[in-house]
């Protein structure tokens, strides 16, 4: 395995990790405020569909992004309404959102485009184009750092960089702002926040809305960045992998980044080496494709230590009976 191969795998890793990263950060905001969110998958799917549809209608990927975010935020509000206002079961609401998104995207898609639930192929300004970072050409001559910068970091769509910035932003918001302190407190001990005169419901709604926006970007990246249009069920379980990454990272922003990169790396390796000869034994394709999932189980079961979720997670806050 030479340097070029390694760089190409890392390049692919960054692309594959980005949707996971947005979704995991969405889950982070939501779960840190005490709202368990297994509807990440559904929100991502709905956002993928609406971003592709709006981009197909308007020809502008930015309008598409806005459309995807709007769809995801609407689903977030439904989740918030069910689990915060009406104090329903958060898991059930999340599952419902997944089913809702899986069904409605295809039905609406068929009604709008008549293409069996897919959207038309997006072209030109309807998609996020790959952008070259400044100095990528000049720096590529520098050994090691140069090719790394030119191949791995440069040449992605703008959302990849937004994702990396969002990690830092999330850390700053959560740990360096008053809003973040209250958000974390609401997830750990809502009574104390309420006693201090801050509305628990408002804090939780804010967190759920942020989750909606981030999930919307994740979905838009799938449909208008990685692919060129929506295909039914195109989220393909990425929302759940993001959830696993979130737990693996123990609900902390920077570890979330590394967890997502790890899952991206495993998938990239699985794609690249579908069958390799290891010590004279031919490792079958099936094993390489199952590898990310096998390692997920192994890592989650053995190496993370105890992952303690926010204490008030999953419990609706009841002010008084």
């Amino acid at each position: 395995m030479d340097l070029t191969t390694i760089l190409q795998i890392l390049d692919s890793t960054l692309r594959l990790a980005t949707p996971l990263l947005f979704a995991a950060l969405a889950g982070l905001f939501s779960e840190r405020s005490g709202i368990i969110d297994i509807g990440l998958e559904g929100k991502m799917l709905a956002a993928a569909f609406f971003s592709a549809s709006v981009a197909a209608f308007t020809g502008s990927v930015w309008m598409g992004l806005a459309g995807g975010i709007a769809a995801s935020v609407v689903l977030s509000l439904i989740h918030g309404l069910a689990s915060i206002t009406f104090q329903g079961n958060q898991l059930i609401s999340g599952v419902a959102i997944n089913f809702l998104a899986s069904g409605t995207t295809v039905v609406i898609g068929e009604a709008w485009f008549g293409l069996g639930g897919r959207t038309p192929q997006l072209e030109g300004s309807g998609r996020f184009q790959e952008m070259t970072l400044p100095f990528a050409e000049t720096l590529s001559a520098v050994p090691i750092v140069g090719p790394f910068y030119a191949t791995v970091l440069s040449g992605h769509s703008v959302l990849v960089y937004v994702g990396l910035v969002t990690v830092a932003l999330t850390w700053w918001v959560l740990f360096r702002t008053r809003f973040g302190l209250r958000l974390r407190a609401v997830g750990e001990n809502p009574e104390s926040v309420d006693t201090a005169g801050v509305s628990v419901a408002k804090m939780r709604f804010a967190a759920v809305m942020i989750a909606g926006v981030l999930c919307g970007i994740a979905g838009a990246y799938l449909a208008t960045g990685l692919a060129a249009g929506f295909v039914k069920e195109m989220s393909a379980g990425r929302g759940f992998i993001a959830l696993a990454a979130l737990i693996f990272a123990k609900w902390r922003p920077v570890p979330v980044l590394f967890a997502c990169l790890l899952f991206g790396l495993l998938e990239a390796i699985g794609n690249r080496f579908q069958n390799i000869d290891l010590l004279g034994v031919n490792v079958p394709t099936q094993f390489m494709q199952a590898l990310p999932y096998i390692l997920t189980v192994v890592i989650l079961a053995g190496f993370v230590g105890k992952a303690i979720p926010p204490r008030a997670g999953g419990q609706p806050y009841v002010k008084e009976r």
Partner: protein
Amino acid sequence: MTLMTKFLGAAGALALTAGAALAEPGLIIDLGGKFDKSFNESAYTGAQRWIEETGGDYTETELQSEAQREQNMRKMAERGANPIVVLGFANASTLEKVAPDYPDTNFAIVDMVVDAPNVKSIVFTEHTGSYLVGIMAAMASETGTVSFVGGMDVPLIRKFACGYAQGAKSVSDDINVIANMTGNTPTAWNDPVKGAELAKSQISQGSDVVFAAAGGTGVGVLQAAADEGVYSIGVDSNQNYLHPGSVLTSMLKRVDNAVYDVFEEGRNDAFAPGIEVLGISEEGVGVAVDENNESLVTEEMMAAVDEAKAKIASGEIEVHDYTSDDSCPALSF
């Protein structure tokens, strides 16, 4: 009471129309969806053509999950559709169970052989069609590396890959063929993101012609090839129009003709059970050349393809069929 009468009347009318609709042919669209721009869409096009040309009508359902196969097939038979066309190898075991229960209904299955007195099995020689596009790929490649993205990892798709590799190697022994599969479950027919990622990985390994035999996943593969400025090859339907200038050609598999013929046999009461093999000489498989790709296809390529066609038809070239012994001399999986 009047409401009740109305309902009864409506039910009666429905029953009557159901009786009148007897002996319409039926088509069960397989997983991946009617508009996969590939295998299923080809069958759908064939059925539409039959409607246009004969003025007849047919019944159609679309599978949503693996579990619906048997239920759908039985329902179709009980509705009185005849003959019933089912698409795809995955239906074989279900059809083996269902066909004996409806001895008066004729079935046709595409891509698999089911031995029953009322079943017609239509199989294509995909390996020979893939051989032809393999030749074109190798001739179009400048890097000496060509690649293949398969959908679900099943023998049928390996048959495509194996024929493709043999075709490419027939041009030059030095041609490097990379083959990847998208997954092991039916979702692998519908994951364009993974398809694009596999294609990009192959392109970064030097491939400059990517052949996709992956249903809906192929849409992502063709897109990735167009984005990276290399050639791609479509499958089943003519996909040349998807990215003119990038899609080198498409390996046609005339599922549309097969569906049309079965429907037509049903109309003329001439249904013939048994195995029908559609190959190059029957024009069941072939390569697509139209206005979208004529600038990419050189005369040498067409000459080589025509020569190979003639040699395959005469038996001079024997393309190895992966499914005959589950191995491929030109490619390791």
